[in-house]
């Protein structure tokens, strides 16, 4: 087998394993943190400090009845969780976790593949996962799920344009579509300082993209019982749940890569291994902010999200792209 393939296989394996453990412990971290915000204790029964809680949850979900409603569209109903989960995992293929380094005498980059149009790839792949949610809502043949599915598609249209334009500003500033190139371009300063407006827009639309509070209208349990998830149980539910948390990590990773200098930090050239530490810390901080927001903010309303997307974020991001273009053209 070609060494290239062996390398890719090993990297994918490590990546998937890391993401799955990361997801499991992220659920625990979220529950623990939210408990702290709410003056509670949080899970503490399964293992010391509740450390075995994710395991217990997985076992529980595994033994639940895998129920498919009689009038559901069976094919789509089964496919929908996969359509949501797989694209979220695919994003990580192009994210650089660290700089080039030598491992066991083998020079490699801590990135699965460094596509030349990595940014385009990210934008394309992230949009796919919304279809899973919309289809789940439709296939369940349940009114609550349908409302959740409709909300998902309306939400996607409202924020994706602004998000795309925020990324365009990044691409314009760094002059490359290669993800590693964007990180390397931030050696002289993180993009969050050069492109603060784009960073804010990316953060807000990113929240909407991953459907985290205050934009979690799609599953809004107080309004739609559980939205698109209403009819899902057992491992199909677990897949949706997994994709939701992997999306959180993915959002943190993208935000870090685009605006917070990715793996860059002091002494990273001397000790390339530090890059992974910096990257993890930055992503961890962003995830903490996500959890913090969820514990604090009320949910935005359906029509208000759309007017925010169309009337505020879109013009703002357009203006930002124009401004960036002018500055880039003048300084080039």
């Amino acid at each position: 087998m070609a060494p290239f393939l062996v390398e890719a296989a090993i990297k994918s394996l490590i990546l998937v394993l890391l993401l799955l453990t990361g997801f499991a412990y992220l659920t625990l971290a979220e529950r623990k943190l939210i408990a702290d915000f709410q003056a509670r204790i949080g899970p503490n029964r399964a293992g010391p400090y509740g450390l075995l809680q994710p395991l217990a949850d997985a076992v529980k979900l595994f033994f639940k009845e895998d129920f498919i409603p009689e009038y559901a569209d069976r094919v789509l109903f089964v496919l929908a969780p996969l359509i949501t989960l797989i694209p979220t995992l695919l994003i990580f293929a192009v994210i650089p976790f660290g700089p080039e380094l030598t491992l066991f005498g083998y020079r490699t980059r801590l990135q699965l593949t460094d596509v030349h149009v990595g940014v385009l790839y990210i934008v394309a792949v992230t949009s796919i996962s919304v279809y899973g949610i919309t289809l789940a809502g439709w296939a369940s043949n349940n009114k609550y799920a349908l409302l959740g599915g409709i909300r998902a598609s309306a939400q996607m249209i409202s924020y994706e344009l602004a998000m795309g334009l925020a990324i365009v500003s990044v691409v314009l500033t760094t002059g490359t579509l290669q993800v590693s190139g964007i990180v390397e371009a931030q050696r002289n300063g993180w993009l969050i300082f050069l492109q603060p407006v784009a960073a804010v827009i990316f953060f807000i639309t990113g929240l909407a993209e991953i459907k985290r509070a205050p934009f979690d209208l799609v599953e809004a349990e107080q309004e739609l019982t559980a939205g698109y998830l209403t009819e899902y149980s057992s491992m199909k539910f677990a897949l949706f749940f997994m994709s939701e948390y992997v999306k959180m990590i993915g959002f943190g990773a993208l935000m870090t890569t685009f605006f917070l200098g990715g793996y860059l930090g002091p002494f990273v050239d001397l000790y390339p291994g530090l890059g992974v530490v910096y990257f993890t810390l930055k992503v961890g901080f962003l995830i903490f902010v996500l959890i913090w927001l969820r514990a604090t903010l009320p949910r935005i309303r359906y029509d208000q999200l759309m007017s925010l997307g169309w009337k505020v974020l879109l013009p703002l991001s357009l203006a930002n792209v124009m401004g960036t273009a002018v500055v880039v053209a003048l300084t080039a």
Binding site: P214, Q222, R294, Y302
Partner: protein
């Protein structure tokens, strides 16, 4: 069509079609069944919601899923033994229910209540108001997904429940008030516990307010949502904070002062627009006013008996039974037969946390009432829901239900 007793009235689908619009019958709008098992209907309320997209065309509340038969049950109990039933009507404010009921019986029998008992009743019902408003604030915020507020509110409510446990032995189903006074005097340490609560609470109320009052997302979700005009509110018989949110100054504590409420100074907070936000602000401010009342009552709490010496409604003291044959007979008759108010009817209302909670008793002179009716504010206020919700969105519906602050136990009785 008159319904005879014991007869179950059945409806055909044809007879129910008037509940929804023509468009729903043609399939142009969606009929959504919300509840009775739904996270935000605050109990087992069922709503038939007609939706055009996410816009609400109409809402039809359907109640009866928590029917307990309390009113009917009262007819087979002696007057004293009805008190525990009243706890379970509005299970978030048992003190107010107790008060309304015992005061109605006192009115019927012309019993004088000692001042100390009146003041303690005021302290406890105002604590109850705060406890009830805390549950309301927590669940209302949770409905709009500000979930941390929920746990903060329940943390503080726990302090009040501790005080209730101290005086009555029960956290929720207190049954503490008796016809003519109280079950027994407040125990040692009661005043200190209430003082400690008074000291802690203002800062906590400010905290909740800071979390929500100027939060732009909260304002977007509550301002201008679920508006009801003062005229509509009065026409539908809405009372309590839901009425005062529309700017109508009606509070039973001021309009028909009872249990010495006229001895205390307090303001009646009023809203202006009658929207969810105004009802929210009215209740937050009411908690502060309740603290004011409790503070005054506690400062001026008189010494003296905690229950009337009138032997008609009070059992003789335990120690008398050892030497007095008459007392022993009276004790036996009091607990087995009960006391008999004169024939007649009476209505007494108190300001419960949800509005005007009234008790109507019809007595035929026997030890058991002929008919007891409770005017439940949640039941009446819920009627205004279709008006408030019309034209809103699904997300508004849960905000509005939260802002009316219903308790299903009270609606179905």
């Amino acid at each position: 069509m008159a319904i005879r007793e014991g007869e179950v009235q059945e409806f055909t689908l044809e007879q129910l079609k008037h509940l929804v619009s023509e468009r729903a019958l043609r399939g142009e709008t969606v009929l959504l069944n919300v509840g009775p098992q739904h996270p935000s209907t605050h109990g087992v309320l069922r709503l038939l919601v007609e939706l055009d997209g996410e816009t609400i065309v109409s809402v039809v509340p359907d109640i009866g899923y928590l029917h307990t038969g309390i009113e009917k049950h009262c007819e087979s109990k002696t007057y004293t033994k009805i008190i525990p039933l009243t706890d379970r009507i509005d299970y978030l404010s048992p003190m107010s229910n107790n008060l309304a009921y015992v005061m109605a019986v006192e009115k019927l029998m012309g019993v004088e209540v000692p001042l100390r008992a009146q003041y303690i009743r005021v302290i406890l019902t105002e604590l109850q108001r705060i406890a009830s408003h805390l549950v309301w604030l927590g669940t209302h915020a949770l409905d709009i997904a500000a979930m941390s507020v929920f746990l903060y509110c329940f943390r503080e409510r726990e302090l009040i429940l501790d005080i209730f446990e101290m005086v009555s032995g029960q956290r929720m189903m207190v049954s503490y008030f008796r016809v003519g006074g109280l079950w027994r005097d407040v125990p040692e340490g009661f005043e200190e516990a209430v003082r400690a609560f008074l000291k802690l609470m203002p800062a906590r109320i400010n905290e909740y307010e800071r979390l929500l009052k100027r939060n732009p997302l909260w304002l977007q979700r509550t301002k201008g949502v679920g508006v009801i005009s003062p005229e509509d509110a009065i026409a539908w018989g809405v009372t309590g904070p839901s009425l005062r949110g529309s700017g109508v100054n009606y509070d039973v504590r001021k309009a028909q002062p009872y249990s010495s409420y006229d001895h205390f100074e307090f303001d009646v907070p009023l809203g202006e627009n009658g929207d969810v936000y105004d009802r929210f602000m009215v209740r937050i401010e009411e908690m502060r006013q309740s603290l004011r009342i409790i503070d005054q009552a506690l400062r001026r709490l008189p010494r003296g008996p905690y229950i009337t010496p009138d032997r008609k409604v009070t059992p003789p003291p335990k120690e008398e039974l050892a030497w007095s044959m008459e007392a022993l007979i009276h004790h036996f008759k009091f607990w087995t037969e009960g006391f008999s108010p004169p024939p007649g009817e009476v209505y007494h209302a108190v300001e419960s946390p949800r509005g005007e909670f009234g008790v109507y008793i019809n007595s035929d002179g026997s030890p058991r009432p002929r008919r007891v009716h409770f005017r439940a504010p949640s039941f009446v206020n819920l009627q205004a829901l279709p008006i408030m919700a019309k034209g809103g969105l699904v997300a508004d519906l849960v905000a509005i239900i939260g802002s009316i602050d219903i308790v299903l136990g009270e609606i179905d009785r």
